[in-house]
């Protein structure tokens, strides 16, 4: 669906769009004016002749005045050129009306010369409409570019940070610690392996745009297992899955921030009853993912409120960029719990 929209607005279909615009205009005008005295054929020809001044006025205004001058912020030049061109095209319109339309269509000579201003409005009403469409299109493009720039920024920041990590040192050291723990403490051994898998995932998997869903789930399980070490008996955490998870793909590290959020804000040692439930339901290409955690009875300072937002803000941005119209994110903050539900359609990316 999202793909179809962009296709319609692409450069390839521009001719089609424009032809559509003018055809609609002619039909609309003919119909509207023709209704006055039912002279549809005359009004049709009248409208066609109008196009003589209307079409150049429109294209000049959009492609030169807007695109080349206004969007380049040359405001004075814009105003000057606008006044000149507006006068010119209005004059052309009046001449056509006076010397072609009136005598030949309506058989009137030396008819009344429409007021200049009225003529201007007739011509530029349409121009303004076209200009409006152009401006909107421009805004959308700017917004897209901004999003992409932000994303690129985040990516290069990430690359920089990764460069600081020296994976060679890190993984060799983890391996050495693992070696020391072998045979002595199985809990340490498995925890180191899980931590290593997590780090490998964050360093390497995030380079691809999409990963197998099963791999992301493995990551989540590793993360949860490690978090369990940090919390004692007063936390219950579960991760339940329904549906077959072998074929789908998903953007890496998309789901983890929600769980991370639940741990950060849903668990307090002082509370004997912390719980986090994570659910994933996969139906064909739809992934439904929800995380709910017991709410805080103690509200902290302003800091608490802010921190809750930041991680989720990033995720929302990624979702907008990668899944545009194909996702829905629901966040419910209640007395008893904090609840998020994410639904993603992965269909469009099957071929990746």
């Amino acid at each position: 669906m999202q793909m179809d929209q962009t296709l319609f607005f692409s450069a390839k279909h521009r001719l089609l769009r424009h032809i559509l615009f003018w055809v609609l205009f002619v039909l609309l005008y003919t119909f509207a004016y023709g209704l006055m005295n039912f002279e549809f054929k005359k009004k049709f020809l009248h409208t066609l002749l109008l196009l003589i001044s209307l079409v150049p006025a429109t294209y000049f205004s959009i492609y030169i005045l807007l695109e080349k001058i206004l969007f380049n912020r040359k405001y004075l030049l814009f105003i000057a050129l606008f006044l000149i061109s507006a006068s010119f095209f209005t004059l052309v319109y009046l001449l056509v009306e006076q010397y072609i339309i009136m005598p030949y269509l309506y058989g009137v000579k030396n008819s009344f010369f429409e007021f200049y201003v009225v003529a201007f409005i007739r011509v530029y009403a349409v121009v303004v409409l076209a200009a409006f469409a152009k401006i909107i299109k421009n805004e959308i493009e700017i917004r897209n570019i901004n999003q992409q720039l932000t994303q690129k920024n985040l990516e290069s920041e990430l690359k920089f940070l990764k460069g600081q990590i020296h994976p060679h040192f890190l993984f060799n050291t983890l391996n050495n610690i693992y070696s020391l723990s072998l045979g002595k403490n199985p809990e340490i051994s498995t925890s180191i392996l899980k931590l290593s898998e997590l780090l490998k995932y964050m360093l390497y998997k995030t380079q691809s745009k999409f990963v197998m869903l099963s791999k992301e789930i493995e990551l989540i399980r590793n993360y949860i297992a490690l978090e369990r070490l940090r919390h004692s008996e007063n936390l219950s955490i579960s991760f339940d899955i329904k549906g077959s998870i072998d074929k789908q793909q998903i953007a890496p590290l998309l789901l983890l921030p929600f769980i991370d959020n639940a741990f950060k804000h849903g668990v307090r040692e002082s509370n004997p009853n912390n719980w986090i439930v994570v659910f994933m339901e996969v139906i064909n290409d739809t992934i439904k993912f929800s995380v709910e955690n017991s709410a805080q009875t103690i509200k902290h300072s302003a800091n608490f409120e802010e921190n809750k937002g930041i991680g989720l803000e990033n995720v929302k941005r990624r979702l907008d960029l990668l899944y545009q119209g194909d996702y829905s994110l629901e966040i419910k903050e209640g007395e008893e719990s904090f609840y998020i539900k994410l639904i993603i359609e992965t269909q469009n990316f099957k071929s990746q």
Partner: protein, 237 residues
């Protein structure tokens, strides 16, 4: 018997591989080296089947030295670098293990070797890893008892003991419910009460206050209520 040699400049890394090899009957490690030059002069005289090689040793690239051998042993590369995976295909490298290596992953790579050399191998590598264990093992009266997951209805805790109610038997063992909980697959069993664990696929009905298993009504603990009800709703709706 498969003969192997380990080359890695970090002794602790060597320990890991040696300990894994120790768990597998059909492979024997002949010698381990931290110095690649020593290793290769050894290999000129002694033929081995598998070479475990770290390619990022400080002095030399292990791969270059492979060229000096008069025969090509099967090579399994161990390294901390993820990125080298593709380069080594020409040197008879059959697998690429990224440190830290789990025992399961190691086992997989030995299997790759045996499949290559001897597809009809009659001796199977003992599966010491509980990859698809479908049962739990507990001690009852000094005897080991195995109970299939599929047979368990519910588990209750009575003071220091845990009673496992299964299809064909009821087993009592001295342990904590939490310990049992940790050894059970988390998506097949759910702890609904301080004293009760229930098999999800054996739940007949449930309400806001209890769960029915095998005709028995088992209460849902107050502190467990929220998460448990949500999970039950997920599974049964």
């Amino acid at each position: 018997m498969i003969r192997s040699v380990i080359i890695d400049d970090e002794p602790l890394a060597i320990n890991v591989i040696e300990s894994y090899i120790g768990k597998i009957n059909i492979i024997e490690n002949i010698k381990s080296f931290t110095n690649p030059l020593e290793a290769f002069s050894f290999l000129q005289k002694e033929k081995v089947d598998i070479l475990f090689l770290d390619i990022n040793m400080s002095e030399l690239s292990g791969l270059d030295l492979l060229k000096t051998l008069f025969y090509s042993p099967v090579v399994i590369i161990t390294t901390a670098y993820q990125e080298y995976a593709l380069e080594s295909m020409e040197y008879n490298v059959i697998d690429y293990l990224v440190k830290p290596i789990s025992f399961e992953r190691f086992l997989k790579s030995i299997n790759k070797y045996t499949n290559l050399r001897n597809p009809e191998i009659t001796e199977r590598i003992p599966n010491t890893v509980a990859e698809s264990n479908q049962f739990i093992t507990v001690k009852e009266n000094k005897r080991q008892v195995n109970i299939d997951y599929a047979d368990i209805y519910h588990i209750e805790c009575i003071r220091d003991y845990v009673k496992i109610h299964a299809n064909s038997k009821t087993v009592v063992t001295k342990t904590t419910l939490t310990a049992i909980e940790e050894s059970l697959p988390e998506n097949e069993f759910i702890r609904i009460h301080r004293s009760y664990i229930v098999a999800i696929n054996k739940i007949e009905t449930f309400s806001q206050v209890d769960v029915e298993v095998n005709g028995l009504k088992i209460p849902i603990g107050a502190t467990y209520k929220s998460p448990v009800l949500k999970r039950l709703n997920f599974y049964f709706n």
